[in-house]
Symmetry: D3
Subunit: 129 residues, 6 copies
């Protein structure tokens, strides 16, 4: 039997973001649950599940874009963790942010590495817990 | 003897963008030659020459960011060709653009694939010439 | 029998944008057909088909956003025509653009009314043909 | 006798934003009072007082634009309350934000619904006080 | 007798932009004349007429912002000419654009110097006519 | 003997931003020290050290751009202090922000003057200490 787009999306979301992604989705239950549903169905069930690009490249692309856009800290935090989860090193992640200084300027890069610092520190705390 | 940052940058620029990158730089000679010099020295001599990230990942990051920013068509064209040059497939490039619909909306993705169409067609004409 | 999301989206797209929307989708066939498919399925089959907001309000929201974002002329043109199709007057459309000067500045408003001029002129030519 | 643009603007501002708008204006007294004066005179005395668009449509347009722009949380909060004041339902407001995912991406929509949650909760507290 | 805000604005606009500014305003007559009126009244009658900043600094600020925003070429062209009119040298103008690479990235700077090239060439043609 | 780009940049950074700039650079030591190095070398050693524009005009340009971009508060704070350090008055700084309402809308101007309030208050506290 065919898996629904939502189930497929939840599985992919968990593969990339662990519990953080599901927290974002559940956190929308009281204000706009369908936004969470579309993130799962369309974002992860449709897009991230496509075979045309591996997950590591997808997370590099997302970290690059969220850094360049400059006003997406919470999503950037989720996808920095996602990038770590799918095999990016810390060095690769901050290198993507550094490169974005060329395209979006230094303030965007500075904001992004500040978010990365928080995510890396949290990951370390959890590794030691 | 040590290579200058400019020479190092020119070599890296040629490796990624072929003649297109040098055209951009030379095209600045009459209006702001130092802008071209900094792109070579800082952009390619410093940043793109760093070993922390491979060139394919760098181009995926750049295509993602320029797609998401939405108003950088000429640079996007140069970097789509650059992505092809360093080993990205056409499918990977348009897949990055498609994924950006999630983060920057459909208009940004639509603009980017229109630029990709032009670059791919030009690449085909040159392959047959 | 249940209509597919794609069929539902195509019907809604035609209701709003007439042939212009389908042209955008078909125009993607050679470069990224799935982008067109997602616009139909997710954009129009899921979002624009929801009953929570009437189509006139949806088009006002879209014209406002595309004006404010400042770099989405082709989509803005499609949605100006869409706004006319679902019952907005020309005056209401340019009024939304004028109001955007407050939130996104005068350059964004100026670009948008220039796009509106072209769409209104085209609509007039077609009305007289 | 003719009402001044400032008086006309203050009246319109109170009609839309209640006390929140005047707080923004008064809050500028110590740093840039003329910015507050222009918001009243030009923003509300000139633009929002025009008859070409009803206030509900104006607030839908503003909520859409501030959501899409992605970095205007305080103004978005004021205009979510304004939208409620002029007759938009909560569902219409979050629906506009959801629709913006199509044009400005999911991060912009997620930020906006988080602001809406705060405004709705505050409105409830005040209704019970 | 007191000059109206519109008359004051027209005079200031002519001082800065010569005929180019009035052309922008007149060009709006058929599509949104009030947008032109507000640019004159609010933009030039109110803001640019204030004594708190000299016109050269104002044009440097405007060229910087329009460069950084990245999608305002027509207004950038008008204000490059305006900057020349109020005493900025070509070198100062392109230097502002070059500096913007730090804050908004190289694509924004590249777009801006391309606009400057066109304006400078036009100014030369007119000087020789 | 020739000063290195880094030493030249540190000197220029101190001239403009006092200790605040060096704090930003040092604050990157644990997460991305090379980002700090490039800000010093390229940002201040290369760009801000160029003779083509005086420092006061440079800071006016930067304050304008960071105001217009709307999502760079920490850098804006550093450069408001920098603008004060190189001779801009408070009134000139808030006037630049006010003018940006024309190009980037009122929310951007409002965010910037809120940052200015904080920087001015801090400067006062330090002057009285």
């Amino acid at each position: 039997m065919q898996q629904s787009r939502y189930e497929k999306g939840l599985t992919k979301l968990a593969e990339i973001d662990g519990e953080a992604g599901e927290k974002v989705v559940n956190g929308l239950a009281d204000i706009c649950p369908d936004l969470g549903r579309y993130i799962v169905e369309f974002g992860f069930g449709d897009i991230y599940s496509r075979p045309q690009l591996n997950l590591k490249s997808r997370e590099i692309a997302t970290v690059a874009a969220l850094t360049a856009m400059g006003h997406c800290e919470p999503q950037l935090a989720v996808h920095i963790q996602g990038a770590l989860n799918v095999g990016c090193s810390r060095e690769e992640i901050t290198e993507v942010m550094l490169q974005m200084a060329l395209y979006a300027g230094f303030p965007a890069a500075l904001k992004a590495v500040a978010v990365a610092r928080g995510v890396f520190a949290q990951a370390e705390r959890e590794a030691h817990a």
